[in-house]
Structure formats: C-alpha cells, structure tokens
C-alpha cells in the first residue's frame, strides 16, 4: 500500500471555469523524493496545498480522495496535520514568524505544547544537523535569503514530519544558496527517510536528486517517470516541458533522436553525460576513421581560435530568424571586440563605491563599457557588486571616485521615460494601482505620447508581453512569472533607451524565458534598445547575450562575447560546457554539442 495515494483528485477554484486539478491518480511510496514540475499556473501549488489540509484553499468543486498512510486525509486532526506534514513556501522571509533564530526553531514545538527541556534538545539536534550553529544567536532579519529558507526547513524538521512538501523553495534564492538548500533536502531524504515532494521551476539541480519526476499540464498529469526516462515520455507527449529538463537529459535525446537508443536511460548528471558523450564521439570517430586517434583535448580558446557555432547561435548574433540549421560561422575575440568601431553608450571608468563611510568598498575600480544595441549580461557570484553596478549605471548610486560617462546624444540623463529604466528583482515593487490596466495607463503619459498613440502602444506592449488576459486583475493577484511580465510591460511603456534588468529570469518558466529573449531581441532590433542585465542564469546569458561580463570582488574580471567567455571557464560556466570540456572545444550550448558531434561524424 502506497504511503500517499491520490485517487481521481479534482479541484476547481471558486469562480473559475476550468479545474485547477483534473482527475489526478497516483501513488507515492514512503521515503520517495518526488519532483513536481510544469509551466507556471499548471497546478503545482494547488496540488501541494491539497496535500496539507490546513492550507487547502476553499474550492467550488472537489472530487476524489487523498489517503495518507491508508487514512483519508480529511480525517487528520489539526495536531497531526501540524506535526506530520511540513510545508515550505516560496518566499523565505514571510514564512518566518518570530525575530530570533532559536525562537523560530522552537515555534512549531511550542505550538504542539512540547515541554521546554525537550524543545531544547530538538532545537540543538536540528541546529547540529543543518549546521546552523554559526547564526543560531542572530536575529532573523540579519540572515541571507538562503539562510532564511534553510531556517524554515530546519524549523519544520524539528517536528519530525513524515511528509515534507516544498513549493518552489529555491525560486527566490541564488544558485549557490539553492544548491545548498537542495543538498539539505536530499540529506533529509537520504538520512531520515522523510518523504519529499518538491515543486520546481529550475530543474537542473533538483532532477538528479529525485527518484521520480511528475509533470503537470493544465492540472493533468502528463508524465510520471524516473529522471532517466522522463525525457522520453515528454518527447513522446510533445510537451513544452522538455525544454526545461536538465542539460544532460536534453543533450542525450538530441543526440539520440536520429538513431536508435531513445529507450535507453538518459544521463542526468554532468559526470554521466561526459562519459556518454565521450563514448558517443569515440564510436563515431572509430566508425568514420578506423585507427585514427580519438579527439584530443586542445582548447582552441587558449590557442586563439574558436571552433564553431550552431544555427541558434548565429541567429542570436544578428539575424532575427531562428532557423535551426544555420551556417557554422567562426567567432573570434577580435571580431566581436567592437571597441574600435563603436562609441560606448555608457562607460564606467575606475568606479569606486561603498555604502557607508566605514563599510568596505563594494566596487573597486570597476570599468565597464556598454555598447548601443547590445545585450550585456553581468554574471558572477553573490555580493560581488553586480546589483550595485546596475544602480551606479542607473545613476541611483553615486561613486565616490571614478566617472560614469554617457553618450549625451544617445542617452538622456537620469532615470525615467526615454532614458534609463531599471527593473528591480521583485517586480511587485513597481505596482501602485488596483488593476493591471490602470497600472499601465499610469505609466503611459510618462513617455509623453499623444492620446491616440497611447492606445496603440498599450495594445502592442500588452500583446508582446502576453498579458492581455491579466489586464483586469489586481497586480498582486497574479503568479510570479505573470508579475514579471506585467512589470516588463510597465517598463517598456516608458520607452527607455537603456533598460537595466536585475535577475529578470527569476521565477520564469523555460517556455517564457525563450519568448522573453525573443522579445528583447525584437526591441533591440526595432527600437534601438540597449539592455544590461544582472543574472545568475548562466544558461540564459550564454544563449542570448551579446556580451558577458564577470563581476568579482568589485571589479570586472572578464568581458567577452558569450562563446569565448564561457568556453574559457571550467567551473562557473554552462552545463553544456562542463559536459563537453576537453571533448568538444568551444561548445557552450547543447546545440553546439549536437553540431560538434555531427561534424565529428562527418569530417570534412
């Protein structure tokens, strides 16, 4: 008998026409690690909340039954609900109740009426298990986002629940904190045997941890398989979620699609994918040129020549068309180094900045050129000065040494319509009106358009950002990805010359990420927009940026077009590069690897 059994579960929100969950039937074994994925609004949160009675929303219609350890979930007492089922939501901050770490850890146990001495023991145990002694005596407000989410996890685990539900727990965290959190989840699952169900948007790290991947689409289960087989199922179903799968899995099916072997288990980790790719290249080499030594790892980036580029990459570099089979253009540093030919739209010269007189410098002689019509991506770890740089570019922070020089003909001073506009990480910070429509209409006059023009412009931006269906909603009453799109529309209505984006892809699903990149491309091509984005999303930057800039310790360590940039890195680089390192030089996307593998098997 399965631990958790869903039997024809259906659910519809009040006033909704379509059900949020539709006829879900599945069994989950005790101790399983299950990943739940799907595009935004597919019903992930709804499903997770059905599994925790105290958080189940009121619905118009419910069907089916959920059984936990053979008992209907509705029979669970409030005490059992609190002690047996843990729930972690997206926002690390608003889940924390008290202002001290130790008190937060004790909070759940206090509610259950556990005596003080036992709480002391359990809190100590949890703090040791998660390694949070270092910040045990701190006030909660002093913690970083990653620490806060880890605290939420630890606070829930003090009650030793048997089932742990996580609703996109890492969506607000940077990749390093996210990896840390997932490692803690995996540790709980491995060492305590707690059943874990985690919903995620970013699958690269979480899928290799899982025993099982469930894919939801419009409230229905479209695929349910082990990570090694989920790719085949999604391909067969023609699901858009295939694009969101980790690089090793996508690479496997792109290389295998023309041949037999689709039924074989796919590699899920970089290590497995490297072994697979090596074998693949060897067999094709041996088939073509028997006796020829296998491909040697000469990194042409080091020797000054780069390999190849696939269609997607060529499309990115200029042409708006996204044809799959483009020419294999070669790229060099020199070719893309446009310093000689173009005047920068904006340049930072030896910029030094600190927040307070006695605090350490955040920017230490940072130099950066932003060229017109380019998408520049600033990447780098946490607290390296990325967001500060963006604020200095926007003129919101003034450096105490150094200059910010802008091309006065191309870029008016200050922030606002027709000049520089900064879209913050949290899009909700922009919304001041009751409906999305009012929100957008309030921004329109800032760009100084005539009445007739305004209507047309509003319609155009609405279409481009795919928010037509949201115009009459309250801007706080939409999902994270939708809020991001509304904020983008808001910002675009101001018709900026220079658009600054802080972590724009956070919370976006894979499908919209692609359309978002296309939208930026169109705007750059048609309106002469220049974009600078700060991002942790290396894969996005590798695929869509014109120039990548590595920020470290308050200065720019490297600046180059994405291909040489990422091909030159071994650790802080795309999964495709890590897989192909030493095997296919210069490849930084799965497309590159596929093109490279094909080239290998058809030597010129």
């Amino acid at each position: 008998m399965a631990y958790l059994a869903l039997d024809h579960l259906g659910f519809r929100y009040p006033d909704a026409t379509v059900p949020a969950l539709d006829d879900l039937t599945l069994d989950i074994d005790a101790g399983a690690f299950v990943v739940l994925c799907g595009t935004s609004g597919c019903g992930k949160t709804t499903l997770l909340r059905q599994l925790k009675p105290s958080l189940t929303p009121a619905g118009d219609h419910r069907a089916g039954q959920i059984r936990l350890a053979s008992r209907p979930l509705t029979e669970l007492s409030a005490r059992e609900d609190a002690s047996q089922i843990g729930f972690i939501a997206q926002d690390p901050d608003s889940q924390i109740v008290t202002d001290q770490v130790y008190h937060e850890l004790a909070f759940g146990l206090e509610n259950l009426g556990v005596p003080s001495d036992e709480i002391r023991l359990r809190v100590a145990e949890m703090a040791s298990f998660f390694g949070i002694q270092e910040w045990f005596d701190q006030p909660c407000n002093a913690l970083s986002g990653g620490q806060k989410q880890l605290l939420n996890l630890a606070a829930i685990m003090t009650g030793s629940p048997a089932l742990l539900l996580c609703d996109e727990p890492t969506s607000q965290l940077d990749p390093i904190a996210a990896a840390h959190f997932l490692a803690a989840l995996k540790k709980i699952n491995d060492e305590i045997g707690t059943t874990v169900i985690v919903s995620e948007q970013r699958l690269e790290e979480v899928v290799p941890c899982a025993d099982r991947v469930l894919v939801l689409e419009n409230g229905r289960l479209v695929a349910d398989a082990a990570p090694e087989c989920i790719g085949a199922k999604l391909l067969a179903a023609g699901s858009p979620m295939f694009a969101a799968l980790p690089t090793p899995i996508r690479l496997f099916y792109r290389l295998e699609s023309e041949q037999a072997g689709v039924g074989a288990p796919a590699p899920t980790t970089v290590r497995a994918a490297r072994t697979y790719l090596q074998e693949k290249l060897q067999t094709s080499n041996n088939r073509q040129q028997p006796g020829h030594p296998t491909h040697q790892s000469q990194d042409p980036v080091a020797t000054g020549q780069t390999g190849f580029c696939d269609g997607a990459c060529a499309a990115r570099s200029r042409s708006a068309q996204n044809d799959k089979k483009g020419s294999l253009a070669s790229l060099h540093y020199a070719q893309n180094d446009r310093k000689s030919s173009l005047t920068p739209l904006l340049s930072l010269h030896e910029v030094w900045f600190r927040y307070e007189r006695n605090s350490p410098d955040v920017l230490r002689g940072l130099a950066l050129d932003v060229y017109p019509g380019e998408l520049t991506a600033i990447v780098g770890g946490n607290a390296t000065g990325k967001t500060t740089t963006l604020n200095v570019i926007a003129g919101l922070l003034k450096p105490y040494r150094g200059r910010v020089k802008r091309d006065p003909r191309a870029l008016p001073a200050g922030t606002g319509a027709g000049a520089t506009v900064l879209l913050p990480q949290d899009p909700r910070l922009l919304f001041t009106h009751k409906t999305v429509r009012e929100e957008l209409e309030a921004t329109l006059p800032l760009a100084g358009a005539s009445k007739q023009e305004r209507a047309g412009r509003l319609a155009e931006v609405t279409r481009r950002c795919e928010i037509a269906g949201l115009l009459d909603r309250h801007p706080f009453d939409v999902s994270g990805g939708e809020a991001q799109r509304i904020a983008l529309a808001d910002v675009l209505l101001a018709r900026p010359r220079l658009l600054l984006l802080d972590e724009p892809t956070k919370g976006m699903d894979a499908a919209f990420k692609r359309r978002f990149a296309e939208l930026l491309r169109t705007l750059i091509a048609t309106e002469g927009l220049t974009v600078v984005m700060v991002s942790h999303d290396i894969e996005f930057c590798a695929r869509h940026a014109d120039r990548c800039v590595l920020c470290f310790n308050g200065e720019i360590t490297a600046s180059a077009p994405p291909r040489p940039f990422f091909a030159n890195l071994c650790y802080y680089t795309t999964a495709a590069r890590r897989i192909s390192r030493g095997l296919l030089p210069g490849a930084i996307t799965t497309g590159d690897i596929v093109a490279g593998a094909q080239k290998e098997s058809r030597p010129a």
């Binding site: 958080l55 409030a78 509610n111 709480i119 606002g416 900064l422 949290d426 909700r428 922009l430 910002v491």
Partner: protein, 345 residues
C-alpha cells in the same frame, strides 16, 4: 543591541530574570528615595558599571550629555521652589533656600543615576532576553511583540526598496532624502530622521529647480505607501499560513525557555534577596529616610532604640552599596578568575 563581547560582561551571563529583577530594584530604590547616601551609592555603582561595560569614551560622552541635564535639574528647583527654612539669599525678591538647593542636587543625582543604569541595562538585557523572560508570564503578548519587532525591521527595509524601485522607473525623483542601501537595516532610523528634516539644499536652492512640485511628490509618496500596504498584507497572509501550518492555535501551547537557572544564579539571587530585604526593611520602617522640605531631616523615623536604628542604618547603607557595586565586582572577579585560569593553561 548586543553587548560588546570584547569587554568583561560576566554579569550578562546570569539568568535574564535575575538581571531584570536587579535593575528594577536598583532603579526603583533610586527613584523612590531621595536619600543622599543611597543616591551616592547608586550613582557610583552605575558609573563604575558603565565604565566597565561601555568603556571610558562612551561613558564620558554620556556624562557630558547628562551634565547639562543635571545642572538644569539642580538649578530649576531652587529657582522655582521657595520652601525651606534656611534662606541663603534673594533672587528677584524670591528667597533662595538651602533645602530647595539640596533637593535640586538630589533630583539631579537621581536623574544621572537612572540614566546611567538604563545605559547599562541595554548592555546586559537584550530585547530577546527580555522577551524570553516575558514569554513565561504572558506568552501571547511576548509572541506578538517578537513578531512586531521583526515586522518593523522588514517594513522599513521594504520601504527603502520600494522607493529605490520607483526611482529606477523615474517615478520618484532623486534628492528626496533617501539613500539606497542594501540589506542592512542598521541606518534606517538616521534616514528617517533625515527624511523628516527638510534638506538644507532646499532652502538655498533657487526657485527654478528640477524638483517636482509638492503635489507630485505627495502622490508618489502615497504610491509608495500603497505598495507597502499591499506587500504587507500579502506577506502577512503568508505568515498566517506558515503559523497555521505549524500548528499555531492548538490548545496547550508551551513557552520555550532558552535560559536555564543555574546554581550560580541561585547564589546570586540569594545574595540579592538578602541585600534587598535589609534595604526594604530600613526603608519601610523609615529608619532610613530623607526629608528635604521644609527642613532637611535625615533618618528620622520610627521610635526604635538608637542602637537598633544605628545597626539598621549601617546595614542598609552597606547592603545597598554592595548591591550597586555587585555587577562591577562580579565582572571584576570573573575577569580575575579568567586571567588566573588562563595563566595555568
């Protein structure tokens, strides 16, 4: 504010209920008796503890600030209070009396002592200690206070973030007193103060400026507040969910006590109770008392034999003196013990 760990503050390692009780008693006696000897003990004890916990610089700075206040308090009483039997002279036709002058000095000493004790209190009893003790007496109120403390910090930080975001879109203009900072909430108050004070530049700036009109600034201010409200409601819903999911509201809630009452705490408590008992007996029997107006009378109470009164008086002076010096002596003793134990390692 966390206690400075570089200074010896062994007193802060006692059970917080003890520290709180100590300060309540010492400050209470200081305020309710104007007895010169007890006041002198109190000022001396507070001063020494402040020097020990906060250092010479911080204490000197505080004393400079207090000096003005004390002079004012000492001066204002004889100027307006004309009771008292010993007339020293006349100011504007009003008598200046010795008793009123003495009373003024006593009030000033009381003020200095209380403020010094409070500055030490902040070094010893942090707000989480206070809440932990309070949590046993009134758990619901303690939890609410704890949540409120957290929210206050978050709201102020969010306010800054929203303003920065609105400025990034060009909706709120620059130069309205906000500076954008990340993460830390440490300088929030100073910024609020800055915000309330009109910037100097505003007065000197010529009438033609790029500053938007007041109406627009007001409107953008309201916009920021509106986002803050929406955000606060939204996040409060999340917090409520989190509390509900973790069983808040179940009957039989317990209160976790992070601090344990040790044998050392028991010893300190016994000593404190003994001293306090002597002082209380002396004060309630009015054996130890002070009257300033109309005539200055010291220790004029109760029809007890002189020897007993003498013993009680001496005991009360000694007990209160010991009590006032106790934290300083305790810290010193710990410091010496530490040096000795380190020298034997």
């Amino acid at each position: 504010m966390p206690a400075d760990s570089s200074r010896a503050n062994a007193f802060a390692t006692l059970h917080p209920a003890l520290s709180i009780g100590y300060f309540v008693f010492v400050i209470g006696v200081t305020v309710f008796t104007a007895h010169p000897v007890l006041l002198a003990c109190s000022v001396l004890g507070a001063l020494l503890l402040s020097l020990q916990l906060r250092g010479l610089r911080a204490t000197a700075k505080l004393l400079v600030g207090l000096a003005g206040l004390a002079l004012f308090a000492a001066a204002i009483n004889p100027l307006f209070n004309h009771q008292g039997v010993t007339i020293l002279g006349y100011i504007d036709g009003n008598p200046l009396t010795r008793e009123a002058l003495l009373y003024g000095v006593a009030l000033a000493a009381m003020l200095v002592a209380v403020l010094l004790w409070f500055s030490c209190y902040n070094q010893v009893v942090t707000h989480e200690k206070f809440l932990a003790v309070f949590g046993r007496v009134a758990p619901a109120l303690a939890l609410t206070t704890s949540m409120a403390l957290r929210f206050a910090g978050r709201y102020l930080r969010q306010l800054k973030t929203i303003t920065a975001a609105q400025r990034g879109l060009g909706r709120v203009r620059q130069g309205d007193g906000y500076t954008v900072r990340q993460g830390d909430g440490s300088s929030v108050l100073s910024e609020i103060r800055q915000k309330n004070r009109p910037p100097v530049s505003q007065c000197t700036r010529p009438p033609v400026s790029d500053r938007p009109p007041v109406s627009l600034r007001l409107r953008s201010g309201f916009a920021v507040l509106s986002i803050l409200t929406s955000w606060a409601l939204e996040s409060a819903l999340d917090t409520a969910d989190s509390m509900h999911a973790r069983g808040y509201g179940l009957p039989g809630r317990s209160a976790y006590q992070p601090f344990r009452f040790s044998a050392r705490d028991a010893g300190a408590l016994a000593l404190m109770l003994a001293c306090a008992a002597v002082v209380i007996v002396a004060l309630t029997s009015t054996v130890v008392s002070a009257q300033y107006l109309p005539a200055f009378l010291l220790n004029q109470g109760a029809g007890l034999p002189g020897a007993v009164r003498g013993a009680i008086t001496a005991g009360a002076y000694g007990a209160f003196g010991l009590l006032c010096l106790a934290p300083t002596l305790f810290n010193l003793q710990e410091e010496v013990a530490w040096r000795i134990s380190r020298s034997t390692i």
